[in-house]
Amino acid sequence: MKGANTKTSSVAITWRPPVFWGVATPSTINEAFVESLASSALASSRARTLTVNAGSGQKIYYAFPTSYGTPTFTIGGFEGGFEKVGDAISVTNSNGVTQTYDVWASTNASLGSTTVVVT
């Protein structure tokens, strides 16, 4: 009999906002644009490696909560090549929670198959 020998095991549930990325032809940056990006994931920070294929006239976009700060983009070992194109865009998710997002886009279009490291 174990008597007073008490053990505890815990399970944690974590709520995270999504981040969005993909390629698109430059247009108005708003909630619809953010939510239209092809890829998304629940994330606790902006750090991510994006693998995309930007066709003719397309730029690479990455949107994440404003609270995740200012990113650094690196392509092929070289930093830079991105600029902020949307600032504090309000995005309301399907659960009714609204957060502001910053949207960053590649300076150049038509980059083809590209891997972008975001830190």
């Binding site: 009999m1 174990k2 020998n5 053990k7 095991s9 815990s10 399970v11 944690a12 549930i13 974590t14 709520w15 995270r16 906002p17 999504p18 629940l42 998710n93 399907s94 659960n95 009714g96 929670v97 957060q99």
Partner: protein, 290 residues
């Protein structure tokens, strides 16, 4: 018949510590050199004074017999410095040494102190000088015993790393009690890597277990070898902001078999739930949202 002995000492006027001096013996009879073969005996009034450059050296009667020196293959020549300005040649001895045919070389090492010699006088007793006799006074390893006329290079025992070496009468003792820790047999390990070890004696089957402050004897249990139990949530544990996680389900496994009492609680204030009757599969009554 008068017999005289000439001793020639090379470079005698420039002797220094460490120098080697070549000495040649020439034995003359009536002014004519003779050829002393092995066993030859020559007699001479003692002490005979021999002058080598500015040094005055005496030849003593090694046999102490009739004030004469007996020169033969087992005899001894003892040269003792009496006057030497440089004051370096303190004496030397040859024993035994064959007498060559007027040109037999002998080599002396010039020493800073009187040469340590054991001079036999025919009866086996030392003459003129004190022989060094070394007796092993201890019962352990013999470092020197029953030796005479030798030079011993001294060595120093020195302790380090908690070992103390000291002299206790005729005994050199090595004390390792300063090593601390470790040890077996009669030793006493009071700590392991600076963590104290309890002085409580263990009972059969006990091992040392760290209790958060020190190592104590204890009996290992199943809980010590593996987690007592593991709870896994059914479904995603990471959800989107605002999502509601309603009555999540869980499974549980127990290393030592199901517990006698299982209670489910959470940090959101949901009343605790007794799931003892279904300890391996149960669900929360709460709904959670952030």
């Amino acid at each position: 018949m008068a017999i005289e002995i000439k001793v020639t000492v090379g470079n005698a006027a420039h002797l220094h510590v460490g120098d080697e001096v070549e000495v040649r013996f020439e034995i003359f009879s009536n002014g004519q050199p003779i050829d002393p073969s092995p066993g030859f005996t020559a007699r001479l009034q003692s002490p005979a004074q021999i002058v080598a450059n500015t040094a005055t050296t005496y030849v003593y009667d090694a046999d102490d017999e009739d004030g004469e020196i007996q020169l033969d293959t087992t005899g001894v020549f003892l040269f003792t410095r009496k006057v030497m300005e440089d004051g370096l040649w303190q004496g030397a001895c040859l024993s035994p040494g064959p007498i060559g045919a007027g040109a037999e070389p002998f080599r002396f090492r010039v020493l800073p102190n009187p040469l340590i010699v054991g001079v036999p006088d025919g009866s086996g007793d030392p003459v003129g000088v004190t022989p060094y006799t070394l007796d092993n006074v201890g019962g352990g390893a013999e470092v020197a015993k029953d030796r005479e006329g030798i030079t011993l290079p001294f060595r120093t025992f020195e302790g380090a790393g908690g070992i103390d070496v000291y002299e206790d009468g005729d005994t050199i003792k090595v004390d390792g009690s300063g090593l601390g820790g470790g040890g077996g047999g009669d030793g006493n390990a009071t700590s392991i890597q600076d963590t104290p070890v309890s002085d409580t004696a263990p009972t059969l089957g006990q091992v040392l277990v760290f209790d958060g402050a020190q190592y104590v004897p204890g009996q290992l249990s199943v809980d010590d070898l593996a987690p007592a139990f593991v709870v896994t949530m059914v479904g995603a544990q990471t959800v989107e902001v605002g999502a509601t996680v309603a009555t999540p389900a869980f499974t549980a496994s127990y290393a030592g078999g199901p517990a006698t009492s299982v209670t489910l609680t959470d940090s959101a204030g949901t009343p605790s739930k007794d799931v003892t009757s279904t300890p391996t599969s149960f669900a929360s009554d709460g709904s959670f949202q952030r």
